[in-house]
Amino acid sequence: MQPVLKVQSLNKSYTSRQGLFRRRSLQVLRDVSFALAPGQTLAIIGETGSGKSTLAKVLAGADMADSGQILLNGQIVEDAGIRNHDCRTIRLIFQDPTRSLNPGLTIGDMLDDCLQYNTELTEEQRYKKIRITLSRVGLLGEHIDYYPHMFSGGQLQRVALARALILDPKVLVLDEALSSLDPSVRAQTVNLLLELQAATGLAYVLITHHLSLVRHMSDEILVLNRGKVVEYGETECVFNTPKSKTMQKLLSA
């Protein structure tokens, strides 16, 4: 099957000033490549500072890579840091839904903004689309007029999901989106994500440090250490016979 998302030798480094003239560069991603088939989940794990979140940002277009390509359905989306701005189909969900939504906008306005800036739909179509998306994530149509503070944490995560889904993405990047939730809310959210994946063939890039969840949800796993891919393979294989030191350490902790 053709992969929906393909990443080829992604490199990224940050430079920081040190003194007056000296600059230090810190490479956060080194030669990262992977492929993701539709309807599959790729889990990315690693310790703090291993470049997980940077990778998520680069994938979603919030940050640029120095070199390397990102291909979506065989078409180049980003090549050596130049992004094709027509692409809005890789969406990111953040860690804390209570802090990542604008408190001054109603849910309807927020979702409408996404559509207004990215699609050519008329007002009526947009309204319809918002209602459909809300019902897809298990919210009601009347929630359009609600403000974020009127929701509980679990519902807010659904709103964040609706915000990601409204542009019909092919790939969803979940950056620690499940770790801050309570266990029963997390179970509900995971169920919703799995249901959506089964129904529409969405592909997920799951970034988390919750290993049992990784084992349950993901098909493939990518272990990062200091920006380098140290292990990449099917989840069950990696969990049963971890080859890299990083993975062994994570499993024993």
């Binding site: 509980s152 029963s184 509900q188 349950h216 350490k249 902790a253």
Partner: protein, 335 residues
């Protein structure tokens, strides 16, 4: 010996639309050297209970309890000065979000040194100063911080969250308390730092015989080393008992849902299969249902559930449910 014994602890908040009962008749008892876990979702009143024990809740909250005994002394009847003296001697607490609970304007050395009581230091004026320095170093080492010189001279914002957490632990064990209350000590940490903190707490419990009351919303990480568990839902204690018993045979529908929502314990759950989850969401404090607060979400709620269920006990395993799960099972197969 019973270290902490609480009966019918109720914490209320008076608002314009009436009284909100955030914690409703919670019982809790803790023996010396035991590790207890207080589990529940956010907003279930876990932190409130911890703060009520230490006595740091602010004036708006009214705390009432039939009994709140600390080694035989009723804390509720003490004057606030006496209570503070007693609590500061024997109980220490680690708060949520360590980087926010440390003083941003003081160096780590000053903050740790402040928590050391004068009574443990010996020597004259200059000797004390030296002893204090030594003690700070020893405490930091004990908490698993190797690079003490650098840490001592830095400010909280310069350190990582895991480091701040270790410093909080070092400050908490300065008085070698009998009871350590740890309020979500690992939520901000990633897995390796988390494992370190747990190892440290476990060592303190085993070597110093210190009791620990762990507050957490992650069941799986405390399940293997806590002796007993108390499960809270919306301020009501739904189930309490030995950890093993609770995991093996949960009696309350909510506990069952919690246990089943863990990927590790979901027996025979296939890859990518849906978890067992209760329908609906946690009600906000202003709209709590009457009677059993799980009522509207409970899969086996019946008419009787509008009355608050009484706590029943068997073999040290107590639960508050009109229709505990084990009875349901007996009805299904009479043999």
């Amino acid at each position: 010996m019973q270290l902490l014994d609480i009966k019918n602890l109720t914490i209320e908040l008076r608002t314009e639309d009436g009284v909100i009962r955030a914690v409703d008749k919670v019982n809790l008892s803790l023996k010396e050297g035991e590790v207890h876990a207080l589990v529940g979702e956010s907003g279930s009143g876990k932190s409130l209970i911890a703060k009520a024990i230490v006595g740091v809740l602010n004036q708006r909250w009214t705390v009432t309890a039939d009994r709140m005994h600390w080694r035989g002394v009723d804390l509720m009847r003490l004057s606030s000065e006496k209570r503070r003296k007693l609590v500061s001697q024997d109980i220490a607490m680690i708060y949520q979000e360590p980087s926010r609970s440390l003083d941003p304007t003081a160096t780590i050395f000053d903050q740790v040194a402040e928590s050391i009581p004068d009574s443990v230091l010996k020597g004259g004026f200059f000797g004390r100063r030296k002893a204090r320095k030594e003690k700070v170093r020893a405490l930091l080492h004990k908490a698993g911080i190797r690079d003490d010189k650098k840490i001592c001279s830095s400010y909280p914002h310069e350190l990582s969250e895991g480091m701040c957490q270790k410093i909080m632990i070092a400050m908490a064990i300065a008085r070698s308390p009998k009871l350590l209350i740890a309020d979500e000590p690992t939520t901000a940490l990633e897995s390796t730092a988390r494992a370190q903190v747990f190892r440290l707490l476990k060592a303190l419990n085993q070597l110093k015989n210190m009791s620990i009351l762990m507050i957490s919303h992650e069941l799986e990480e405390i399940s293997d080393w806590s002796h007993a568990m108390h499960v809270l839902y919306c301020g009501q204690m739904v189930e309490a008992g030995p950890t093993q018993a609770i995991f093996k045979q949960p009696l309350h529908p909510y506990t069952q849902a919690l246990v089943k929502s863990l990927p590790d314990f979901g027996q025979g759950l296939g890859h990518k299969e849906a978890f067992y989850a209760l329908k609906g969401t946690i009600p906000p404090l202003q709209h709590l249902p009457i009677g059993c607060r799980l009522g509207p979400r409970c899969p086996q709620a019946q008419k009787e559930c509008v009355v608050t269920p009484r706590q029943s006990r068997s073999h040290g395993h107590s639960y508050a449910c009109h229709f505990p799960l084990i009875k349901v099972k007996q009805k299904c197969n009479p043999s």
